[in-house]
Structure formats: C-alpha cells, structure tokens
C-alpha cells in the first residue's frame, strides 16, 4: 500500500525563504537511512546533512516513511544548519524527522565550530551524565540478558516493565503481582541498583493510582507512563493520591501539552521521546520544567546516535536526571549499535557516562554500518 503523505505544517509568513547567498553552513546535501536492528526489530531513521563548506552532521529520529523523508529533504535543502527554529516549525507535522534533521544540523554546526554539541547548547553543567538502561523483556527471566549486559556496561539505574493486568485478575492480586515483579528485579540486579517502573501507558488511571500508593515503600525512582489517559482529571487521580513520582511524555510532541502537564502538577519527570523531539525542542521543554522544579529524562527506544546525542543534551541541562538507553538482549543488536558509532560504547562507569570532548556528537558515524543495517537508503 502506498504510504500516506502527512501534511506539513507551514509557517510561510513567519520564516523568510532561504538566504540566496552562499554560506558555509548552507545545506547542500541530504541523505537518510531507515534502520532496523536484526533481533529486536527496533527501528529508527538517521539523517546526514552536508553543508556547502564541507561539514557534515548526523541526526537520528524515530521510524519514518520514505515519503516523509523526501518531504523533509525538500523543506531543509538550502537552509543554513543553524536554522533549527525553522525546522521545528516546518517539520512539526513530522516529529521523527524534526528530531533527525534538527539534531543533524546541531551536529553539523558544532563540528563546524569544532566543539561538542553540549558546548554549543550552552556548555556543560556536569561532567558526566547518568544513564538509564531500558531493558528488554517483560518478565524477570526475559529481562535477565539485557540486565546483565547493562550491568557490564556500568548502568546502575534500570527500567522494568510492569506486568500488564489481565482482566480476570483482581486488583489486589495485580498489585501483588507488580510488587513481586519489582522485588524480583531488585533482587536480580542486587544492591546499588535503582529502578524505574514502566507502566507503558497500559493502566487505567484508577489502577495506576492504587499501584502508585502500594509501591511507595519500595521507592522506585519514578513510575513511568502509568496511564495513557493524559488528561488533567485522569492524572489527578494518581498524583492526588500518591507521592510516587510520575514520569510522562513519551507520546507528546507539543510544547503546550508539556506545559499543561507541568502547570497542573501532573508530572514529576518529563519524558519527551528523543525519537520525536529534537534536542533544541527538548531544551525548551526543560526550561519550562525547571521553573516547576521538575526533572527531565528523555525517553529513548531508538538507536545509538540518538542516545549519544541525548547525552549531550543531558550535559547541558541542570534539571536533566538521566538519559535512557535501550540495552539489547541480543549480541547482534549490540554489535550493530557499536558499529554505527565507530566503537564508542553506550556505556559508563558507576552509572555515569563520561562526557567526550570532541566536536559534534563526539564520534564518527560509520556509514558502512548504516548501509549494512539499512532497510532503505534515501
């Protein structure tokens, strides 16, 4: 079936057309890869931009259709790599590409200025960034390979998925089931491990509220995406009943929606998805969250370029708490991720990633690996 082209949001009156004159940062070349990890099937897009002056930059976004990539290319060609606000507006209807293109521009501009992205974004507020391992697997047994890899890679903070409630299970039994799961995971990871409970947006607000109160004594660092019903009244059921920190935002791309959650006190950790929000856009979300003393920990279930870009953002934001990184169970997936980053590992020491003081993303993207793992090069 022919993919349906989404309509681009245009702001014709707000942004002038591309400057006609030559400029070293004028984008003259646009390439994209649609990638898929061999075992997990995790998908994401990578965009490479080349500027007139020769500098290149890479950015990652969530999965995209070929037609969307073509539309994004049309929108950004001949723009300067500094025009991230133009991209935020013109690609608002294509959030995965807004992220990929804007981040590629940031990488390009930072490389052109010979500085790391975090310095371009305002400078490091920390010298290392806390990592959050996004484990694969729904049960403790299934999650074990991913957990073991994450521990070897120096992670100390992990997410675990709460079991999904079967309609036949009484609420009390379900609460016990989730509590047991969290306890099992804590036992599996051992002392020093800290946990985020991931609700995957699958619970009703009422169930989530009951669970939040019941799990308070276990002190998960936060309860992520407890419900998919992100309305003020629904979320009030949870936050009015419990002191459990609530993480929300992986499905949100609008700044106004984040602002609403913050203004209503519905969220304790904002979680914009790196696959659908650019670093510069998330920086705006973080600025709003900061005035509410709310932490930001971008969600990420994409590739290594996005994850390591997230580290740069984390380094530049005072209220950034952790950068989520998917940790594969499969060796093949892990190898693919390492190949793409030319060997720079998504790993740390004692829970933190030490910042790299090299231009742009801080590593050379391996285009051979992109080609090798690409479903399609556009």
């Amino acid at each position: 079936m022919k993919p349906k082209r989404r309509k681009l949001t245009t702001f014709g009156t707000a942004f002038a057309p591309p400057a006609a004159e030559d400029h070293p940062l004028r984008i003259v070349d646009f390439h994209a890869w649609r990638l898929k990890e061999p075992d997990s099937g995790r998908r994401y897009s990578v965009v490479r931009l080349r500027a007139q002056g020769g500098a290149t930059g890479y950015g990652e976004g969530g999965p995209s259709l070929a037609a969307e990539i073509a539309a994004a290319r049309t929108a950004v060609m001949n723009r300067r790599a500094t025009e991230s606000e133009y991209v935020r507006a013109s690609l608002a209807g294509l959030p995965a590409l807004e992220a990929a293109v804007s981040n590629a521009m940031l990488d390009l501009a930072s490389r052109a200025k010979e500085m790391p992205i975090y310095r371009y974004l305002g400078g490091p507020v920390r010298y290392k960034a806390r990592l959050l391992a996004h484990l694969e697997g729904k049960t403790a047994a299934e999650a074990r390979p991913s957990l073991e890899r994450a521990k070897r890679q120096g992670f100390q903070l992990f997410t675990t998925a709460a079991p999904v409630r079967d309609a036949m299970i009484p609420l009390r039994a379900y609460v016990d089931q989730v509590r047991q799961h969290l306890t099992d995971m804590q036992a599996l990871a051992g002392a020093g491990a800290e946990w985020v409970l991931d609700g995957h947006g699958a619970m009703t607000p009422g169930d989530a509220a009951t669970l939040a109160v019941a799990l308070e004594p276990l002190h998960p660092v936060w309860f992520d995406e407890p419900t998919g019903v992100i309305t003020q009244d629904a979320l009030a059921k949870i936050v009015d009943e419990s002191v459990m920190p609530i993480g929300l935002g992986r499905a949100i791309t609008g700044l106004d929606a984040f602002q609403g959650l913050l203004a209503n006190g519905s969220v304790n950790v904002v979680r914009p998805d790196l696959g659908r929000n650019s670093l510069t856009k998330i920086k705006r979300v973080a600025a709003i969250a900061e005035t509410h003393y709310v932490a930001i920990a971008p969600f990420h279930d994409g590739g290594p370029i996005g994850a390591l870009a997230g580290i740069h953002l984390n380094a530049a934001l005072l209220n950034a708490y952790a950068q989520q990184i998917p940790v594969p169970s499969s060796d093949r997936d892990a190898a693919m991720r390492a190949e793409i980053t030319s060997g720079l590992r998504e790993s740390g020491t004692k829970g933190f990633f030490a910042l790299v003081n090299r231009p742009g993303l801080g590593f050379e993207v391996n285009e051979k690996a992109l080609d090798a793992y690409s479903e399609e090069r556009i």
Binding site: P124, V125, R126, Y127, K128, A129, R130, L157, G192, E194, W195, E216, L218, H219, P220, V221, W222, V239, D240, S242, V243, P245, G265, N268, V269, T291, H292, Y293, V294, A295, L318, N319, Y321, F352
Partner: protein, 449 residues
C-alpha cells in the same frame, strides 16, 4: 525642527501635569524616558523639608554609614561578614541595624549608600513613610540586596524611635505578649544515636526545648531508594535519640525538589517534628503546595522572601504553617511585623530566620515579643556557647542571643536595647565579600544547599 529642539519641546510639554494643571518640577529639561516625568516631583521634594514640615518632629537623619565586621572563618561562616548600619541624627541619637547579606556584603553596603540620599534630611520617626520611600521609591521592588539594605536602615530607625520614646521596640509594637521572653532553638549536628542522646541530655540540662537539624545529603530532582532511605533513617535516629519530649525541626534547605520533598514528608510524618523547613526551592509556590498536600507535618519557609508582598502568595494559598522571614532581608522591623500580621490572620505562626549577626537577631526578638502568633526564634548557635558567642559579647556588651531556660530574655532598655561597642567593631575589620558556600552534585552540577 531639528531633533534636539523637538526633544526639548516635548520635555516642556510633559512638564504640565494633566491631572492638576500645575507645572511639575523637572530635574532636567531633557528626559530620555517617561519614568523621569513620574518621579521628578518626589525626587525634588525631600519629605523632611517641605511637605511634612508641619507634622513631623525636629529630629533629622544626618548621616548613614555601614560598618563591615569579619569574624575569623573558623568561628563564623566566611560568606557573611556582618554589615551593620549606623544612622545618626541632628540630636545625637544614634540607631543601629543590620543589613548582612550572605555572599553579597559589598552589594548590601553599596545599596545602603544608594538609599542614603533618600533618608538623610528626613525625620527618623516617620519610619513607615521612610520604609515606603525606600521600597516603592526604588522602583525595582524587592530582591535581597534592596531588601537587606532597607532592613538595616529600618532597624536603625526603629532603634532611634525607641530611644526617643524611651521604650523598647516591642512595647511600641504592642508587646510583650509573654514577658518571660521569646522561645528559641539552636542548631545541632549529630550523626550517631549515641551523639544524639548526649545532645539530648545537654540540651535538657540547658533548659532548651527545641533544636534544628539538616538532611544528611544533597538531593536531586528525583531521588533513589538509597538516598531517601538514608534521609529517613537519619531523621528517625534523631527522634529516637532526642526522645518524645524535645522538639526538633529539620531544615531541608531547599535541597529537594517538590517531588522528593513530598516523599520525605510522607515518610517522616510519624516523627511529629516541630516543622520541616524550606522543603523545596522558594520561587514556585504552587509547586510547593503540591509537595505538602500529602503531609500534616508543619511546613515552614520564608527566609529568602522580601517584603510582605513576597510572603502573600504563601499565606493566601494556605501552603504553609509557619513563616520564617529574616529581619535582615525582608525589610527590617516594619516588614517583619507586617508579615506577622498577615500570617496571624491566616492562622500561620512565625519563626523568624536569623543566621547572621547579633543586631538582626535582637531586632527580631522585638517583633517576636509583640506577635500572638509567634512560635520560636532561630539563631545560628549551638547549645554549647562557642567562640562566636564570646565575640558577640565583645560587640554587644552582653551574651547576645543566648537563651535562658529555653527563652531569649527581652531587652529592657529603649530601642533595640543594645549598645554597640564601636571600639570592639574595629577589632574585627571587614575583609571583603566572600561568596556563599557552594555545593555540587556527584556529576558536578550545581546543587541547592
């Protein structure tokens, strides 16, 4: 018409007041901003000389000076050299106040100097008018530098008023509510149960009824199970060691976010603390409100707030149980009393912050003594009198801010009731501003301390 001529003409046109039809006095024929028209009259008519001529006393402020006092950093925190303010009058009556501002001593001194031109020539008995002159007349209202400068001058003006009227300030404010004095608490720092029990015995022997502690760690925007457990265990140890009949408060010092504060407050509720102080940073009142809604532990805050306006949202939104403005920052006696009045009407008690020098502490006692909603007065001291207390006695001529049977005795002499030993001040010369102590998280990020 040339540009310069046009501007001159416009300035002349603006010199006519539309409301009164009278010509205003402009300090300059050329104004580059509309603000100039609005303040011209006030600037050019000092209240002590003309407008209030028939209704004020013959007393006039003749000079204002600041005296910086730096104590040895081994006995007093280096970031807060004392900024004392001396106001002199044409009849020889002198008043003292304190404008100490942690980490910004030179700024506070400079601001006092800036305000001097507003006050010299005025009648110090017009303390409310002069407070408004400094607060409203500064245009940019509030902020800790202006607040501290106003505080120092205001305290000194009240000192003069009391001396002229031959009564302690608290009597002028309608007190004392309790002639036995003002309940206080000391700071304490213990890490083991044995230390806590030893502290309990010492505190009881001294007749002191309350102590204040801090949390054991810096905290981040969200927190781990390990750090929350450590904080809770520390406070549980305090309650166990102190026993059920000693009050203790815990200063969170705005280290936690509202998210983390809510968890801690929930966990420590059974400890029945005197209060939890500055549970999160002070700028966002609604965020603080959300943090406290799950707990009945009394919530205190206010040391960083300036003027009664700075406290009004906290009071109106019913977020807190106890207000803690600092008399050296909030705007002196005038502002602290106003905050106290607003708090009383909303069932909020007062426990003023004081962690600077002795003059501000003593000035606070006067407002405390006149407030029916007063709870307890802080001072940065411990049960055991230390070297700092010896210096304070040297400066003030008596053991300033030391409790007797759990209370600070009320001064009995006029004004603030102190005689500052100016010769002693010279023994502790000002060594310049030192920055506020900083703290950093594990990853190097700036922490809230």
């Amino acid at each position: 018409m040339k540009r310069r001529q046009l501007l001159t003409a416009l300035a002349g046109a603006g010199a006519w007041s539309a409301a009164s039809g009278q010509r205003r006095v402009l300090s300059s024929p050329l104004q580059d901003c509309g603000c100039g028209f609005q303040v011209a009259t006030a600037r050019d008519v000092p209240p002590g000389e003309t407008a209030f001529r028939d209704v004020i006393s013959n007393l006039r402020v003749t000079n204002i000076q600041t005296v910086g006092v730096t104590l040895d950093p081994r006995i007093a925190q280096a970031d807060r050299p004392y900024v004392f303010v001396k106001v002199e009058t044409n009849q020889g009556v002198v008043g003292w106040g304190e404008a100490t501002l942690e980490g910004k001593a030179a700024s506070a001194m400079a601001c006092v100097a800036d305000l001097k031109d507003l006050i010299v020539g005025c009648d110090p008995m017009q303390v409310e008018h002069l407070y408004q002159l400094m607060y409203i007349g500064s245009f940019y209202r509030g902020g800790p530098v202006l607040g501290s400068a106003i505080s120092g001058i205001d305290q000194a003006l009240w000192d003069i008023r009391g001396k002229v009227m031959n009564m302690p300030v608290y009597e002028m404010l309608g007190g004392p509510v309790d002639p036995r004095g003002v309940r206080g608490y000391y700071h304490a720092d213990v890490w083991t149960l044995a230390q806590t029990r030893e502290l309990r015995d010492k505190t009881k022997a001294a007749g002191v009824t309350a102590l204040k502690f801090q949390l054991p760690d810096l905290l981040e925007w969200v927190e781990t199970n390990a750090k929350i457990k450590r904080a809770v265990a520390h406070l549980e140890m305090l309650r166990e060691g102190l026993g059920p009949d000693l009050d203790f408060a815990v200063d969170f010092h705005a280290r936690p976010s509202p998210t983390v504060a809510a968890i801690l407050l929930r966990e420590v509720e059974p400890l029945q603390m005197l209060f939890a102080e500055e549970i999160c940073p002070p700028e966002n009142v609604r965020a603080m409100a959300r943090a406290v809604r799950h707990s009945t532990t009394p919530i205190a805050t206010g040391e960083r707030l300036i003027a009664s306006y700075g406290c009004s949202e906290l009071i109106d939104m019913d977020v807190i149980d106890i207000l803690q403005p600092d008399i050296n920052h909030v705007g002196g006696i005038t502002a602290l009393w106003k905050v106290s009045a607003a708090a009383e009407a909303s069932g909020i008690r007062m426990a003023p912050h004081a962690c600077e020098g002795p003059i501000g502490g003593i000035a606070s006692l006067h407002v405390d003594a006149a407030g029916p909603n007063f709870l307890a007065q802080e001072i940065c001291g411990s049960v055991d009198a230390g070297e700092k207390n010896r210096v304070w006695e040297d400066l003030m001529g008596f053991p300033a801010m030391r409790m007797v049977d759990g209370r600070y005795p009320l001064p009995t002499r006029p004004g603030l009731g102190v005689d500052v030993n100016e010769a002693a001040l010279k023994r502790y010369p000002f060594q310049g501003t030192k920055p506020f102590v900083m703290a950093f998280q594990e990853d190097g990020a700036v922490g809230s301390i």
